[in-house]
């Protein structure tokens, strides 16, 4: 490989996660691990109907129950129209919800909240609330929602803060289109055309820790919210907005949080807890149960994606025409941006001059979709990688060779980058680090791709067929010209540093990765850095944990910050040693003279600067606005065995080869990759919401919503293909999301390779596969 790579003293090393030992010791680090006296408990009453007007709510009996402290409904709660999406301001999500809505729009919509002395009392009180509904006919099929006579948001008040097409009369949440080249010409030039439609399904993030917030007032009567959130700064802003209180009166603290994957990018529990805390002046806890996670948190956007593509016999892709219908459920949170990302995080992957994207997001009376790892890229990859496979097969080219020929290469651009961004036009960019060819080659060798026909024959039986699948992926790293991240650091007496980050470590290891970058610049050990992140009173702003941005963007801010401090240290040492700064160099926790033995240690500088000489606080703040979004790339390879009698698909081996630029911490890279992968395999094979005819989720529990366990795992191998991203910190790009998007198409391709049956609607459960086999016969 010609691309340079970077390995530093600490960057590129798998140092232990800064919080790992504390977590292994079971220290009280999570939201609910600190006891509060006199805590009030909250329970929520949810709509049993998918679509209904609330005619009346009578809470009088509930309020009389001893131990009940308050009840909130649409009658007495804040009526501020907002979005629960924790995005930058102005949000690219429609303002279409209130804390409680007079019209309920899905089974699981909020009707009333009870605050009580105990959870049990609150639960009993829920049963005493009498609600009169006028039940309306619902819409569940997102392909039939647009322009339907049933109108879900007929209150007529919803609006975007940004100029985006929105038409509630047509259940139309968002529209995006983009076209480059000449589509007619593209399809005319094609020797073959493939036109495929896929549909993905509802799924939940399943962080092991459900949503939770504890709100209380501190000694200065400021509202403090401890919250399991991915977006503490957005949470602070939205709480202040909805409750009509000054932002300066709100502090959001994110302790350790038990996973997020996107669902904690939503402001779900904070406002309710805060509203009761304001009323009761007591600590209030609102904690979701697992069931509530399934019925009333957020989900992946189910989409119908049609992709029509043309190819010449020589393997040139002549046209790609993608149509997306995205189902945002009952409310439009992330409705615009997930849909637009379906185009922008997939279409630049392959060379093609003529590309069209049309995306529409619609409401249905189903659970609310939101941000979910992969964020549109997952949905689009299902269509794109199936179609790419079929194009290759149509012209008798190996699917790996076809991808090697067509994928975007280092230094190239795609017109889609400019034509399609996140919720609007995008930004032109070249991709300056692409290790995808190597990913494909290494992955193919590792799984035995080139000899697979012989292998398949040898290992298949009459009813158990082996097959191999491949999928390639790209994502981004941050949202250009929108995302901003900041970091602050100060030096202590002993030469140690406090590193204060707005960035939100949700288990990803970002506190560690960012400390590694800081240590690399300043010649520090990890033990010299005390990381504190995500406290809106103490740390600088960061947009939060989403859009695969923290390593890349906050990493750049931290690198800038460390460089600023390095300059201060040189200046300070220069004065102390009475030599020009240019004669100095950085040593191990010291500044040394380049030629003499003269040096001054960081601990000397730290002590002297605070107490005796040239006194000052050595420290700085730095921030970074994202200017591009360099995609990470990866290749997924799977070997499956399909039982043609039972329809069972067994994944035997799964190999991922990934290009995330410089892997700042390889073991954390592997953890992020395999965690996403296993979630993706579960989504492809077993995870799904089962609805009854009234739109109620019938399987809201881990017992009935099957996520993978240790005994379900295939043999997994992760190959890191280091490249160097010139715009990233020490050459790094993102890795958080990309690998969740591979299994759906990769396994569809593997199933096709095994039995010649194309399945386009996951999950590939035995009954679905069997049906597809029978239909094919």
């Amino acid at each position: 490989m010609s691309q340079k790579t970077f390995e530093g003293r600490i960057v590129g090393k798998s140092v232990a996660k800064v919080d790992a030992l504390s977590l292994a010791l079971g220290k009280p680090l999570f939201t609910d691990d600190i006891p509060f006296k006199n805590t009030v408990h909250v329970k929520m009453l949810y709509s049993p109907h998918a679509h209904a007007n609330i005619l009346d709510i009578d809470t009088s009996e509930a309020e009389k129950l001893p131990g009940v402290l308050g009840v909130l409904t649409h009658k007495n709660a804040s009526q501020v129209l907002h979005t629960t999406a924790g995005q930058g301001y102005p949000e690219p999500s429609v303002y279409d919800t209130r804390l409680f809505n007079k019209k309920v729009k899905y089974v699981g919509d909020r009707v009333a909240a009870v605050a009580a002395e105990t959870v049990q009392i609150a639960e009993s009180a829920l049963e005493l609330i009498k609600v009169k509904y006028a039940v309306l006919e619902p819409i569940f099929d997102w392909d039939k929602s647009y322009g339907n006579t049933i109108i879900i948001h007929d209150e007529g008040e919803a609006k975007y803060l940004i100029p985006v097409h929105y038409d509630s009369e047509k259940n139309h949440v968002a529209h995006m289109d983009a076209e480059v080249g000449d589509m007619d010409k593209g399809f005319e030039e094609a020797d073959f055309i493939i036109d495929q439609t896929v549909r993905n399904h509802y799924a939940q993030h399943c962080p092991l820790e459900p949503h939770i917030s504890i709100a209380y007032f501190d000694g200065h009567d400021r509202l403090v919210i401890r919250s399991a959130t991915q977006v503490p700064f957005h949470a602070r802003r939205i709480v202040a907005q909805v409750l009509g209180i000054p932002l300066s009166k709100v502090r959001v603290i994110k302790p350790r949080i038990g996973g997020g994957f996107g669902t904690k990018q939503e402001i779900i529990t904070e406002i309710i807890a805060a509203a009761f805390a304001m009323e009761l002046k007591r600590p209030v806890k609102f904690e979701y149960t697992r069931k509530e996670e399934f019925i009333s948190a957020r989900t992946r956007h189910p989409m119908t994606v049609q992709l029509k593509a043309g190819v010449k016999k020589d393997g040139t892709i002549t046209a790609m025409d993608m149509k997306v219908t995205s189902n945002t459920g009952a409310y439009g949170t992330h409705g615009l941006t997930v849909m637009s990302n379906a185009g922008s995080k997939a279409l630049p992957l392959y060379h093609c001059d003529n590309i069209k994207f049309v995306g529409d997001t619609v409401y249905t009376n189903l659970p609310v979709a939101g941000a979910y790892r992969g964020y549109g890229g997952t949905q689009a990859a299902l269509a794109l990688e199936i179609v790419i496979d079929e194009l290759a097969r149509t012209i008798d080219m190996d699917p790996a060779e076809f991808r090697l020929k067509n994928h975007i290469k280092t230094g190239e651009s795609s017109p889609i980058f400019k034509a399609l961004g996140e919720g609007g036009e995008g930004h032109e960019q070249t991709v300056d680090s692409v290790g995808l060819s190597e990913c494909i080659k290494f992955g193919a060798n590792a799984i035995g791709w080139w000899d697979r026909e012989e292998y398949k024959k040898k290992h298949s039986t009459e009813t158990k067929k082996r097959g191999f699948g491949l999928a390639c992926l790209m994502q981004g790293s941050s949202i250009p010209f929108i995302d901003m991240a900041a970091a602050y650091a100060k030096m202590n007496d002993d030469g140690s540093f406090n590193l204060l980050l707005g960035a939100t470590d949700i288990g990803t290891g970002s506190d560690t990765v960012l400390a590694q970058i800081f240590a690399e610049v300043l010649g520090l050990e990890m033990s010299d850095i005390i990381v504190l992140s995500s406290d809106t009173d103490l740390t600088p702003f960061d947009k939060g944990a989403y859009a695969s941005s923290t390593t890349y963007l906050t990493g750049l801010a931290v690198q800038n910050l460390a460089e600023k401090i390095k300059a201060q240290l040189f200046e300070y040492a220069s004065k102390m040693m009475n030599v020009p700064s240019s004669d100095l160099k950085l040593g191990a926790k010291e500044i040394k003279h380049s030629t003499t033995n003269q040096s001054i240690s960081f601990s000397d500088i730290g002590t002297k600067a605070l107490y005796t000489d040239n006194q000052q606080q050595i420290g700085a703040v730095a921030s970074e606005l994202s200017k591009k979004s360099p995609p990470p790339f990866c290749a997924h390879f799977a070997e499956v065995e399909v039982d043609t009698e039972t329809g069972r698909v067994k994944v035997l081996r799964y190999i991922i080869a990934i290009d995330c630029g410089t892997p700042i911490n390889p073991k954390l890279v592997i953890g992020q990759s395999e965690g996403a992968l296993v979630n993706g395999i579960g989504y492809a094979l077993s995870e799904q919401f089962i609805f009854n005819q009234k739109g109620k989720v019938l399987n809201p529990s881990f017992g009935n919503y099957k996520i993978m366990t240790t005994t379900d795992l295939p043999d997994i191998e992760t190959i890191i293909v280091p490249t160097f991203e010139p715009s990233g910190p020490y050459g790094a790009k993102s890795i958080a999301e990309i690998n969740i998007s591979g299994p759906m198409p990769c396994l569809s391709n593997a199933i096709f390779d095994a039995i010649g049956v194309r399945i386009t609607e996951p999950p590939y459960t035995p009954d679905r596969v069997l049906k597809a086999i029978q239909k094919h016969e």
């Binding site: 092991l208 395999e674 996403a676 366990t709 997994i716």
Partner: protein, 158 residues
């Protein structure tokens, strides 16, 4: 109605006054053993696993009263910062801890296995951890970490 239960928790004798309907997880968390995590309340996620008389049990589907006169280990009673248990060290070294919410339960399920055998096969490790969900890591590092800790505890040279 209340009742009194005697437990030995992390080698300390304890007596608690409980409501007979209280679940073990609720009593343990109330008494400060907050490493016992609540992930599902139905005995499927394993975040609430504790060792009861040496066996890994899910404390969210066990009445506290059922543990009366029993010996309980929570992760607070396993290892210290200066002397972590080999399992804790191996999990840290293998990068097997991401958000960490599932980790106390997983470590205890693993400990129950290693208390029985220091030479488990990979398959046995997988089966021992099958009742513990982790959404962050994809499990491979955790399985590796358990095998590594077993090797350390056997005294294998590196």
């Amino acid at each position: 109605m209340t009742m009194k239960i005697n437990l030995t928790i992390n080698n300390h004798p304890k007596t608690f006054i409980i409501d007979p309907s209280e679940l073990l997880i609720d009593v343990l968390r109330r008494e400060g053993y907050v490493s016992v995590k609540r992930g599902c309340d139905e005995g499927t996620c394993g975040a609430c696993v504790v060792l009861l008389n040496g066996k890994a049990v899910k404390s969210c589907i066990l009445l506290a009263a059922q543990a009366h006169e029993g010996t309980i280990t929570t992760i607070e009673g396993v290892g210290t910062r200066d002397q972590p248990h080999p399992l804790q060290l191996a999990f840290v070294d293998e990068g097997a801890i991401q958000c960490g919410f599932c980790i106390p339960g997983i470590l205890l399920s693993a400990k129950a296995l290693l208390d029985k055998t220091l030479s488990p096969t990979k398959e046995e490790v997988k089966i021992a951890l099958d009742g513990n969900l982790c959404r962050c890591t994809g499990y491979s590092g955790q399985i590796k970490a358990v095998l590594k800790a077993a090797a350390v505890m056997r005294g294998d040279k590196k």
